[in-house]
Structures are given as C-alpha cells and as structure tokens.
C-alpha cells in the first residue's frame, strides 16, 4: 500500500522516466486560464474520466508555464495538452503532425478587456482609448494569447505603433490576476486581461470599482484548445486520436468542466488558428 502511494506520488511529481517503462500510459497536461491551485486534484478527475473512456492508463502532470507545457509536449513527455491559442500554434509547429482536436465552447469567440486605473480619467468606449498615450501599461504572461498576443495585435491596429512606442513603459505581470492587482493598486495605469478572469475576479469581489474599470474590449479571436501529438495512433491504437476527441467532446460533468473552466468542448482543427499564426508572425514572435 505504502509502495503504491509512493509510486503514485512519484509519478504525479514527474519523478519517473516516461518512455519505455510507461509506454502504455497516456499523459496530458493543462494550465487553466484562472485559479492554478490544486491542479493535481482537479485534473486528476479528468485523468480518471479519460482512463475510463479510453481504456488506457491516463496521467496528468502539472506544468508551470505555457512554455514548459510546449516543451513537455515537444519532448513527448505529454501527448495531449490544453494550450492557449499562441502556445497551441507553437506546439503544432514544433511537433509536425500534431493536431488541434477540441476547443472550449467559449473559445472561438474569446475576448480580452483593457482595464485602467480610475485616476487616468478614461471612460469606457467602443474604440481603443488613444488618451492612454504615454501611460504605463502591462501585459500578462509573455506567451499568453489573451494577455499579450491578440491585445497587442488589436492595439497596434488602433494606434499604428508598437506598444513600446505608444506607452511610456511596458511590462509583463506574468499573470492575469497579477495584472488586475497591479492596475488596481495604480502601479501600472492600464493592462489587458482575459475576460473570464476579469469576470471571475468581479464575482469574487476582488474588484474595487472606484480604482479600476474596464474601458475597452478586443474583437473576438480563437483561443484555448486541445492539441494531440500525431504519433499517438501508432502507439495507442489506430483510431486513438478520434477516441480522445470523442471523449473530450462528450464531457458533460460540471465538476470536470469546472477545472478548465469551460461550459463544454466542441471540435477544432489546426486551420482555426491561422489568425493566431499570422498575428504571431507580424509581431515577430514566430520565425
């Protein structure tokens, strides 16, 4: 028993070798766009569900950042991953043959909010507020689609300049929650956040309307999706990719969906993310 527990923990903490010894274990990873606490517990349930549906051993490993997730996917340490739009594209390019197979119901129409400290005096509008010129501005994580890539794209369209020129100072807070906290404190005048994180922070009472407000939203763009490696069929059986896709699309259990959090999953394909590829190229984030 003790051995079993230890073995599981060791596995959980990435402390064993994948590859030959665990060739039959299907490994996936996911970073939710909000609330990264207790990942093992929350995604462990998803692993159990997939194991029951697919009839193979399924394991979840937690990763720190989008970049770490892409690296693990590239190294075949994980075969399936829940990526943001940009990281999914990075993964598809680094692992030839990999495929986007599902996305959240919300993801084809994702948006980001521009938030400002109230002292800037900027009011909500339909157009990007050019009065932000010369203010201090922060993105979220560097490789975040909703916290950096797409907002930067739409901001460049609106201002005709790079953010580094338009603003007096540009930072990367590293996280949507940190962006909200730092703009609310006035450390940065403005920032962009994922709309779901903003709504959750608002629901949790973490937003002080007298200090921070939402003033603009980006046009919709595609974001999070599941990407699976192209070599899984050879390893787990002919129709394995299709079965994984079917299993993901069939998730209806609220408890499982809450981990992501999404209302459900719908099919996706690599072509859905061409906008992201083009944008990343124009921002010189992809060669």
């Amino acid at each position: 028993m003790i051995h079993k527990i230890r073995a599981r923990l060791a596995a959980a903490l990435l402390l064993c070798v994948t590859g030959a010894a665990h060739a039959d274990t299907f490994v996936f990873t996911a970073i939710p766009d909000q609330d990264e606490s207790r990942l093992m517990t929350r995604f462990g349930q998803v692993a159990d569900y997939l194991a029951a549906e697919l009839g193979v051993e399924v394991r979840y490993i937690p990763v720190k950042s989008y970049a770490a997730a892409v690296t693990a996917f590239r190294n075949n340490e994980v075969q399936l991953a829940w990526f943001g739009g940009f990281t999914g594209v990075q993964a598809q390019r680094l692992v030839p043959g990999s495929r986007a197979i599902a996305q959240g119901v919300e993801d084809p129409q994702f948006i980001s909010h521009l938030i400002v400290h109230t002292s800037t005096g900027i009011e909500p509008s339909d157009d990007f507020p050019l009065a932000l010129r010369g203010k201090r501005f922060t993105f979220g994580s560097r490789s975040s689609t909703s916290g950096r890539l797409m907002p930067e794209h739409f901001m460049r369209e609106a201002t005709g300049e790079t953010p580094q020129r338009f603003f007096s100072r540009v930072g990367f807070s590293g996280d949507h929650s940190a962006t909200i906290a730092l703009v609310q404190s006035g450390a940065w005048d403005a920032g962009v956040v994922n709309y779901k994180v903003w709504e959750q922070a608002r629901a949790a009472g973490r937003i002080d309307d007298s200090k921070v407000r939402k003033v603009w939203s980006t046009p919709p763009y595609p974001d999070y999706h599941w990407v699976i490696r192209g070599d899984v069929d050879a390893r787990f059986g002919n129709d394995f990719t299709d079965r994984v896709q079917a299993a993901l699309l069939a998730i209806t259990d609220e408890a499982l969906l809450a981990a992501f959090p999404r209302q459900g999953f719908i099919p996706a394909s690599n072509e859905d993310y061409q906008l992201i590829v083009d944008t990343a190229r124009s921002l010189d984030l992809l060669d």
């Binding site: 402390l15 075949n76 930072g171 940190a178 906290a181 006035g186």
Partner: protein
C-alpha cells in the same frame, strides 16, 4: 593639488579610501542614470491582502507541498555534491588557462538559464534540476578549490622523497592542506544550493518555488505565505540538522527519492545542438549576410540596451547593498546589542536572504510603481542580508576587551576598520552575482539582458537565447576580471572561499543561518 602628504596618500588605508570613493561614485552615477520614477496611487488594498495572507498562512492550501520540500532538498544535495566533485576535478587542472576559462563561462550562466536549457534536453525531470545546480556550482567550486591549491603551502610537497608519485604527493602533501577550507566552503554553498533549488520551481521543476510563484502570482497570499514560512524554517534550522556525518545519509536519501534520470526521449541533445541553437538565418539557408544582419539586429535591439540596463541596475544595487550591509551587520555581531536583539537580527537576515528577490520586487512594485527602484531595493535587501550575516561573523575574529569601546564609538573606531577589508571583498564577489540576478526582474518591465533571454526562451528561439546568454557571459567575465584587479590592488584575498574559511568557527561548523 594633493591635500595629503605623499606618505598618507599611498597607505593601505589610502587605497581603501580611494577604492571606496570610486565604487561609491560609480554607484551614485548609476543612481543618477537609473530610472527611479515613483508612481503609485492606491496600493493599500493589495498590501492589506498580502499582510492578511502572511498573518493567516494556509498550510493545507498547497497540494503535495511535502513532496515539493523533499524535491527541493534532493535536487540541492545532488546538485551541490555533483558540483563539488566536478569542481574538484576541474581544480586539479587549474594551472591550464583553458580550464579556468571553461569554469568562468559555466559559472557566468544563471541556474535558471541552465534549467531552461536542460528542460529542452532532459525534460521536466530530476536530472534537469540536478544539472542546473551542478554545472554553475562546478564552475564556482573549481575556482575556489583551484585557488586553495594554488595558495596552499608548497613545502610539504617538496619535502617528500624524490620519486614520489603524483598520486602520493597529492594525497599526502596537497589534499590535507586544503581539506578544511574545502569542507567549509562546500557547506556554505549548500545553503545557496537550497535557495537555487527552490528558485528552479519558477521554471516548472517540482520544488517549493513552483507553488510559491503560482500562489503569489495568483494572489493567493495565505498559501504563498505558508510555503515561504516553510522555506524560512528549512534554511533557519540548517545548523541543527546539517552535520557532516549525516551527509552520506542525506545524499543517499536524495538519490532514492529523486533518481537523477532524464524524462526526455533520446535525441533531444542532438536536436538542441544541431537545430535549436543554430541561428535562424543559417537554419533557413539565409547565408552569411543574413546571419550578420541577424546578429546586428539582436545586438542593437536587445544586447546593447540589455547590457546598459544590467550595468546601471547592478551598480546602483551594489552601492545600496554596501550601505545596507554596514547598517545590518551590527544586528548579528556579538559586539553589539543583547542576545535577544541578535536573535531577532538573525531571524531578520534569514528572512531577507531567503525571500526570493522576485517576491520582494513584487511587493515593492506595488509600493513604488514600475521602475528600476523596486529592482534595486529588492536586489540590495537580499544581497546585503548575505553580506551582513557573514560580516557579523567576522567581528568574532579578535578577542573582546572589557575596556573596548562600545556602541557607535566601538562601531566607528574599532569594529568597522577591522572588518572593512572583508566586507569590501565580499561585496566585490557579490557584484557578479547581483548582475546575474537582474535576470529575474521582468515583472518590472526593465529590459535587462535577462529580460530578453527570458523572452527568447518563451518564444522557443534558443538561438537568440544563446546569443544573449553569451553576451551576459562576456559581461560577467569582464566584471569578474575588474573586481579581481581591484582586489589585487587592495591586497584583498582573491578567493571567496579563503575569505569565508577565515570565519571564526569555520573549522567546526559551517556558517549558517541562526548562529547564536
């Protein structure tokens, strides 16, 4: 016009005054050039949340926190042990310029960058954690041990009968002379290794830093505080559980808990060398001209501004570190205060040197807004706590006299003059380290070299990352050479290990956190 007679000008004290003056002027100049804008409006709410978090630590909020603690220990023990062995082997060839250059290069790269490189090659595995610590530490150990061997008394070796083999000479006439300082220095480095191991969690290895960074980044301050307290406890209690005789046991446990194996498939090393780090224009057959353009663009857009900001930030931080060290070391010196005040002083210094700089920078960012200021203060607080802790121990070097001066008079006329050379030497060793640490301040939006390296890794452009890392290696080598010359000029010990080995009590107990 000289305002001092020639004799007074050219004394040891004169040299120290001038060196201090110049370093101070460089620091002041850096402060003038640095961007120190203070802009913040309403940090109250968030600071109150952080404060509440620290008052209500939640030890149950983080899953697998004990495993993370065990991993932190396991990576540190294995990494430092491997570093000691490899460093020792390198030290044997210290008289070769190539070995010295190699050691200088591997220690000039930050542990986090080694970690990011090995993530590509050995995956999210214990081996990555171990190598990320072992490689830069091997470079540090090689230098320190090599200089021990250089400085060791040569007479025992020449006294051996002629025809003694190299092996016999080494084991009977060389090794015994340096064993003690080697042991002391390795023990000191273990604490550094534990901090490094925890920090490796920031890039995704399963150590304490993994959960710590997530918790603070997401504003879950109670969970973050609990992990930080655990880490303080680990470092603060080192002296009670780290004994020389238990080391083999700890190392064995570390190997059992986290066998240093790779989790990546075969071929990743070759992929890294033959594809990843090949500059993009060459990979895409752009030819030499395209390659030159790529280099020029990278140099002008990233490397040069990065170099400049790194220099300004670290010089300003060095000055503030010096001032803070002078203020802080009496807190833990037996020459001042009471046992109670010293106890509290020790706790304060453990907290300051154990709290990762990025955390200090985040809190200071809320207070002061984004500029170099939070970075300078965070780096200075962290580094001065280390210098002050060692400086306080140097005051034990000479016997206390009952008629000796106390208080401010004792500080100015007895203690400070005696330990000043040691403090200055430690500060000069630390300069290089401050420079490496500027890497992690991307949250402030300060474009140091590390900021661009970080970006290159996030974009999976290892060619750019390597280019920028090489630039930072050159910078580190330059600073190292400069500080070496300065120490030579001041006749300070050139060897950090030698300076530390002179610490009182160094032969029996390694310098540690809560020393009484």
């Amino acid at each position: 016009m000289r305002f001092m007679p020639e004799a007074a000008w050219n004394t040891t004290a004169g040299r120290f005054r001038r060196a201090s003056l110049w370093l101070g002027l460089v620091g002041v100049l850096a402060f003038l050039l640095a961007d120190l804008e203070i802009t913040t409006l309403s940090p109250g709410t968030e600071l109150a949340r952080i404060g509440t978090g620290f008052l209500t630590p939640d030890f149950a909020a983080t899953e697998f926190v004990w495993q993370a603690l065990a991993n932190t220990l396991a990576f540190a023990f294995q990494g430092v042990a491997l570093g000691v062995v490899a460093g020792f082997v390198l030290a044997l060839g210290w008289r070769f310029r190539g070995v010295r250059a190699f050691s200088a290069v591997i220690r000039a790269v930050h542990e986090l960058f080694w970690g990011l490189i090995f993530l590509q090659i050995t995956g999210l595995s214990p081996l990555t954690g171990v190598l990320a610590i072992a490689i830069p530490y091997a470079g540090i150990f090689a230098k320190v041990f090599g200089e021990f061997l250089e400085e060791a008394d040569a007479r025992p070796a020449t006294a051996l009968p002629s025809g003694s083999t190299w092996l016999a000479t080494f084991f009977y006439a060389r090794l015994p002379l340096i064993l003690l300082p080697v042991r002391t220095y390795s023990a000191y480095r273990l604490e550094c290794g534990l901090r490094a191991s925890a920090i490796l969690g920031f890039i995704g290895l399963p150590t304490l830093g993994f959960h710590l960074e997530t918790a603070f980044r997401q504003g879950d301050y109670s969970a973050g505080a609990a992990i930080l307290y655990l880490f303080f406890l680990l470092i603060g209690t080192l002296r009670w559980w780290l004994h020389r005789h238990l080391l083999p046991l700890y190392l064995g446990a570390a190997l059992w808990w986290a066998p240093p194996l790779s989790s990546a498939p075969a071929g990743t090393l070759w992929r890294f060398l033959s594809e990843d780090i090949v500059p993009a224009p060459l990979r895409q057959d752009g030819g030499f001209e395209a390659f030159m353009q790529w280099c020029l663009r990278l140099a002008s857009e990233q490397a040069l501004p990065g170099l400049w900001h790194t220099l300004v930030l670290s010089s300003a931080a060095l000055l503030l570190t010096a001032l803070l060290s002078l203020l802080l070391f009496p807190l833990v010196s037996p020459r001042f205060g009471s046992p109670l005040s010293r106890g509290l002083g020790h706790i304060l210094l453990v907290i300051l040197r154990t709290t990762p700089e990025f955390l200090l920078a985040f809190i200071l960012l809320l207070l002061f807004g984004p500029s170099m200021l939070p970075g300078i203060i965070a780096l200075a607080l962290h580094t001065s706590a280390i210098v002050a802790w060692l400086g306080g121990r140097f005051t034990l070097q000479w016997p206390a006299r009952c008629d000796g001066a106390t208080g401010l008079r004792g500080y100015c006329y007895e203690v400070l003059p005696r330990i000043y050379p040691n403090l200055l030497a430690l500060l000069l060793y630390r300069w290089e380290i401050i420079m490496r640490e500027t890497a992690i301040l991307g949250i402030l939006g300060i474009t140091t070299l590390g900021y661009f390296v970080d970006a290159a890794f996030a974009e999976f452009r290892f060619d750019r990352a390597l280019f920028l890392i090489l630039v930072s290696v050159l910078l580190n080598l330059g600073v190292d050479a400069f500080s070496r010359r300065l120490r030579q000029h001041l006749r300070l010990s050139l060897n950090e290990g030698r300076t530390l080995a002179r610490l009182p009590g160094a032969d029996t107990t390694p310098p540690r956190g809560a020393a009484p």
